[in-house]
């Protein structure tokens, strides 16, 4: 239902622009603003995350007064409608008509996969949160940078924590029956089994499932449950889990324990252990700035999506500073993007590996009640986590990509 035509232009520095239009062509090229195209979702079921992505981007640009490395920035927002065809149309618009210098987004893996080839051909740098493993593994895109993490990158540390610190032995996993869910749980399984644990059962409810109770009823014979839902599904799952009276501890992925979702949860989420690339209680100046800005402008604390886009902004800024604000030489710009190494970000210090994926800190948090609010308290951080975890990169890449049935269950 990609009916929307709402492209918003956020134009600050109109002065510079009027000046540019009056100058001859040659002079215009240098003073023209850096154009960032944001591919996001503002309609349909994915809109919640998509709107947060836009808010995070705008917050970042406001913090920098819409100026990066001395150049004015113009943000052009394209609503993909949350479907691959819409994403393709929008990126073509952004690239060919608006002439953007880089793309932030899109949100979902299937959107990213739909545009990856086109973006590579157009040599268009993409800074996305979409977690599809192979984008930075077996089918890499030379123009892709991911500062958040792959699906399984969130789950490797969680599995390590579950096995070594929580001393869990037998787990049941439950996640949406699509690539994101499959990749997460496969990654969790590999690390958990290698640490001596066993996955008893993997449950896969369809992405659209109003009532999880038939699945929850199949949970037995385990020490705990790992949920890997996305969107509004974690909320529904936790509520129904509580209603059936199950008391096993719940572990969750980044989207299940997301700060932005905490206000929608009730007490059923208290005690949930989750792992994420972003955590609200991280004490860095930029995280404080992000939280204050988000609360002031939107009345909400940031979560994965808004923080992720804020961080993308920081990555773009650092790369622009390295190239002296130039984006014309795309090869040089993408090299600069991938060479970015930051310490003061809302997710802490990180760098990129040779495939453009983040190597950074991941946080284990416990959801707790503080007054009338739920908050995540960080209980352990895993620094310098690579997408390959502790495995050898060559060995890792020689294995099939994580999927619904790979690796097979040990039992």
């Amino acid at each position: 239902m990609a009916l929307s035509v709402d492209r918003r232009r956020f134009l600050v520095g109109a002065g510079g622009l009027t000046l540019a239009t009056t100058l001859p062509r040659a002079a215009r090229a240098q003073s023209r603003p850096v154009k960032i195209g944001l591919l996001t979702v503002k309609t349909g079921p994915l809109a919640s995350g998509g709107i947060q992505m836009e808010q995070g981007t705008i917050r970042f640009l406001k913090d920098r007064n819409y100026t990066l490395a001395g150049r004015k920035v113009e943000l052009i927002v394209g609503d993909t409608g949350g479907n691959p065809a819409g994403t393709k149309t929008k990126i073509q618009e952004l690239v060919e008509r608006d002439g953007v210098d880089m793309i932030f987004g899109p949100l979902a893996a299937f959107e990213l996969l739909a545009i990856s080839d086109y973006a590579a051909q157009a040599k268009m740098p993409i800074l996305s949160l979409a977690a599809a493993e192979d984008m930075t593994q077996r089918k890499p895109n030379a123009y892709f940078v991911r500062a958040s993490g792959t699906s399984a990158q969130y789950m490797h540390p969680l599995a390590d924590y579950a096995a070594k610190e929580m001393k869990l032995k037998r787990l049941i996993t439950i996640a949406d029956d699509f690539a994101f869910g499959h990749e997460q749980m496969a990654g969790f399984q590999r690390v958990f089994e290698d640490a001596g644990g066993r996955i008893v059962k993997k449950l896969w409810p369809p992405l659209v499932t109003p009532d999880y109770t038939p699945y929850i009823a199949q949970i037995s014979g385990a020490d705990a449950v790992v949920q890997g839902f996305a969107g509004s599904n974690p909320l529904k799952f936790m509520k129904q889990y509580q209603d059936t009276g199950l008391k096993l501890p719940v572990l969750g992925n980044g989207t299940a324990g997301d700060e932005a979702l905490l206000k929608s949860y009730g007490d059923e989420a208290v005690g949930m252990i989750s792992c994420s690339a972003y955590t609200g209680d991280l004490d860095t100046p930029s995280n404080k700035k992000l939280i204050d800005g988000m609360v002031k402008d939107y009345g909400n604390i940031p979560g994965l999506y808004s923080a992720g886009l804020y961080i993308n902004g920081q990555v773009a800024e650092a790369a622009l500073e390295k190239t002296g604000g130039k984006t014309d030489d795309r090869e040089a710009f993408i090299r600069a993007l991938r060479a970015v190494s930051l310490t003061d970000t809302p997710r802490g210090p990180f760098t990129f590996d040779r495939l453009g994926n983040v190597v950074g800190t991941f946080y284990i948090r416990r959801t707790e009640r503080k007054g009338d609010k739920l908050v995540n308290t960080t209980i352990k951080s895993y620094p310098k986590v690579s997408q390959f975890w502790t495995y050898d990169e060559k060995w890792f890449l020689a294995q099939p990509v994580y999927s619904r049935d790979y690796p097979p269950l040990k039992s």
Binding site: M1, L3, T43, G44, P45, L46, A47, S48, G49, G50, I51, L203, W204, P205, P206, V208, T209, P210, D211, T213, P214, Y215, I216, A217, Q218, S220, G231, S232, L235, K236, K239, Q240, D243, T244, G245, A260, L261, K263, S264, Y265, G266
Partner: protein
């Protein structure tokens, strides 16, 4: 707690919820021949309205009644000013109701944002009730009970009152009903409002289990369609039986054949459509 017991309780709950949702759909389709694709939106809109009412301090049950009322009002306006002009034009009606469902979704997104909203279970109905040594979740039992009460009430309305007789006449033969002096168009508005109210009310009642979020409309509509096709349109008994059949198919299908969850749900619908197009309890077209 045994798996089968949980599944059975849950099937009955879902059946009850689906009955509230689909009885209105069935009446509207049976009487007005309008395949109302906004019905899922009515469900979602009711739930959203209730979250606001509850935020204003109303208790759950009042919010459920008023939320339904808000949706009924909206449904009435849609019927009176749009659908009435399209009488008989089925394709136009399908398109209009489909378009409206997208519009409602967009407006809900604007008003209530994309964040999922949780509706708290009424305090008195939290936890489980122990009956014969088995723990029944109280709220889910309450939903089943509400569905039974509504089924009885609707049956009494249709079977025992003058209005019900007129509706039945309209379902059987609208043209003839008009000839004998029944104001069928007013009947249409009443039935449409009633159906919308039921859907909105069901949305609120389902809230504590499902919560409310963008896309809820699209998740519920196909279930209502399956119920009505299985049970037969315009038949209250059909809706009731269809709802519980779908409730059981959905729950047991997902537990026993998780890979084939949708096949288990939709295959019976296909078979019924092919072998008995009027549905299990519908009357064949004359």
């Amino acid at each position: 707690m045994s798996l089968w017991f949980v599944l059975a309780v849950n099937s009955i709950t879902l059946g009850g919820l689906l009955f509230l949702l689909s009885s209105g759909f069935s009446l509207i389709f049976g009487l007005m021949k309008i395949p109302n694709l906004t019905h899922g939106s009515f469900f979602m809109l009711g739930a959203y309205l209730a979250t606001s009412l509850i935020a204003y301090g109303l208790d759950f049950w009042t919010a459920a009644l008023l939320g339904g009322l808000g949706v009924a009002l909206f449904g009435g306006l849609v019927e009176r000013f749009i659908l009435r002009r399209l009488a008989g034009a089925e394709l136009a009606q399908v398109l209009v109701t489909l378009g409206l469902s997208f519009m409602v979704a967009d407006v809900c997104l604007m008003v209530w944002t994309g964040d999922p909203i949780r509706i708290a279970t009424p305090a008195a109905l939290r936890g489980t009730a122990s009956v014969a040594g088995l723990g029944f979740p109280k709220y889910r039992l309450a939903i089943s009970l509400i569905a039974v009460v509504f089924a009885a009430g609707l049956w009494a309305l249709l079977d025992r009152t003058r209005l019900g007789a007129m509706i039945r006449a309209g379902v059987d033969d609208a043209a003839m009903a008009r000839v004998v002096g029944i104001r069928v168009s007013r009947l249409f508005t009443i039935v449409f409002c009633l159906g919308a109210w039921l859907a909105g009310f069901a949305g609120v009642i389902g809230g504590p289990i499902l919560s409310v979020y963008p896309g809820l409309d699209g998740e519920m509509l196909p279930l209502a369609l399956v119920v009505v096709i299985l049970g037969g349109s315009g038949s209250l008994l059909g809706s009731l039986v269809g709802s519980f059949v779908v409730g059981f198919l959905y729950n047991f299908g997902q537990a026993m054949f998780p890979e084939l969850a949708y096949v288990v749900l939709f295959l019976p619908m296909l078979i019924v459509l092919v072998l008995r197009p009027q549905g299990l309890f519908g009357r064949p077209a004359v």
